[in-house]
């Protein structure tokens, strides 16, 4: 079975300790993935945004294993 591919950016990558990973989990929706990230990496679920195939996704959007996932968060610096 294919694994799910996730990319992390900015502070999120700092917190997960990696810029990408392959997960052997399955998630029905974006919300499920967000819950997983919150509990695994202690991320602030309100502050992160999930993109599926380079498009920002809403919480109820379904996830497929072949989707390219990215986890984004606002940057503060300037």
């Amino acid at each position: 079975m294919e694994k799910i591919n996730i990319k992390y950016f900015g502070e999120v990558a700092e917190k997960t300790g990696k810029t990408m990973e392959e997960l052997d989990e399955s998630f029905n929706t974006v919300q499920d993935l967000t819950e997983y990230l919150k509990s695994t990496y202690n991320l602030n679920g309100d502050a992160i945004k999930i993109a599926i195939n380079r498009e920002l996704a809403s919480n109820d959007q379904p996830l497929n294993r072949t989707d390219e996932i990215a986890v984004l968060s606002p940057f503060a610096g300037g």
Binding site: K7, R54, E55, A70, L72, P74, F75, A76, G77, G78
Partner: protein
């Protein structure tokens, strides 16, 4: 007396031409922040001949700014960033108008300032400022170019352009814990690139050429050289009105002397380990970390004045109390270090 020759290299481009140069001359751009991003993008807007440029920044130059804020030098330390930047930029191009606003953008001045310009550049380094700029731009119907930085990565997008998505469509809620350059560090080259990308979007919008990065977020990682683009749509359920603006961005501030005279309950929202330790009449310690779970300990009928170490957390606490129906809430103009002086006198 205008010197046409100044712009010949850019007017030679068919995308610019004399007509484009006239558009640049007539454009009014407000740059909020004269730090890393501002220092990178301002010289190019100025030298391209953007006719009117406003610079807003209440900060002073520090020695630790100099490695990336290239408009400043050693003798400028402790001087106003907006003022010094304007002086240097006028030498780059004396033919344009530069307006200097040496104070911070806030809920009380944002709308009036933004209304005077055609487009806005967010060159700030605070999350709260981005929401203020966003909401004011939505109300004033002006587009704004955003960039922000985390270590070697930059984000870039244009918001509220031709009724396009806004910053809130991308990130609906402020994440007040996101770390700034001061906390995590930054290279001058990263802000330089981010700033010139912003200036490039500004120029395209003025000239009405190319593709404007609206509805699209660029994340550029300068270590891996990887560029990723994410698209997003306008969220029409998000409504920004005068009323929501007022609630979120306009805070009531009072001086310690006023609060004391009017018997306000002072609330210190710093964590208990923070110095200086302050002792005063009517002083309650209620660290930000427990505030929301301890609201019942705050008498609702009292007038309340909040403070912390820098004003950032007291602003957050102010919003928390307001959202829980506390009516008479203020932020102190003074923060803990100033209060220590006042209280010891």
């Amino acid at each position: 007396m205008k010197n046409e020759e100044r712009y010949t290299r850019q007017t030679t481009l068919k995308e610019v031409g004399q007509a484009g140069q006239t558009k640049l001359e007539q454009a009014k751009v407000l740059v909020i922040g004269a730090g890393g991003l501002g220092c990178a993008l301002l010289p190019y807007l100025v030298t391209a001949g953007v006719g009117t440029i406003g610079i807003v920044d209440g900060d002073l130059v520090t020695i630790s700014n100099l490695h990336r804020q290239v408009l400043f030098s050693n003798q400028d330390v402790e001087k106003q960033k907006a003022t010094i930047a304007s002086q240097k930029l006028r030498k780059l191009n004396p033919e344009i108008q530069i307006e200097t606003y040496p104070f911070y953008l806030n809920g009380n001045n944002a709308l009036d300032l933004i209304k005077k310009y055609d487009l806005v550049v967010d060159a700030t380094d605070r999350i709260s400022a981005r929401y203020l700029i966003n909401d004011a731009c939505v109300l004033a119907d002006k587009p704004f170019v955003h960039s922000s930085i985390y270590k070697f990565q930059l984000q870039l997008s244009v918001f509220n352009y031709k009724d396009g998505p806004t910053y809130r469509c991308l990130y609906p809620q402020p994440d007040e814990n996101a770390k700034s350059c001061a906390e995590v560090g930054v290279m001058g080259t990263t802000v330089a690139l981010a700033g010139s990308l912003q200036a490039n979007e500004v120029i395209k919008m003025i000239l009405e050429i190319g593709k404007v990065r609206s509805g699209e977020l660029l994340i550029f990682d300068l270590l891996s050289n990887e560029q990723s683009t994410f698209s997003f749509k306008k969220n029409s359920s998000l409504k920004i009105t005068q009323e929501t603006f007022q609630k979120e961005h306009i805070i009531s501030k009072v001086s310690y002397a006023y609060a004391e005279m009017n018997d306000h309950l002072l609330i210190d929202v710093r964590e208990t380990s923070e110095l200086p330790i302050l002792k005063a009449n009517h002083l309650l310690q209620m660290p930000m970390s427990v505030l929301e779970s301890s609201l019942e300990l705050i008498p609702m009928q009292r007038r309340i004045s909040l403070f912390c170490q820098s004003g950032e957390r007291s602003l957050k606490a102010y919003k928390t109390l307001k959202s829980h129906q506390f009516k008479d809430v203020y932020c102190l103009e003074e923060n803990a270090p100033q209060l220590e002086k006042i209280l010891s006198e």
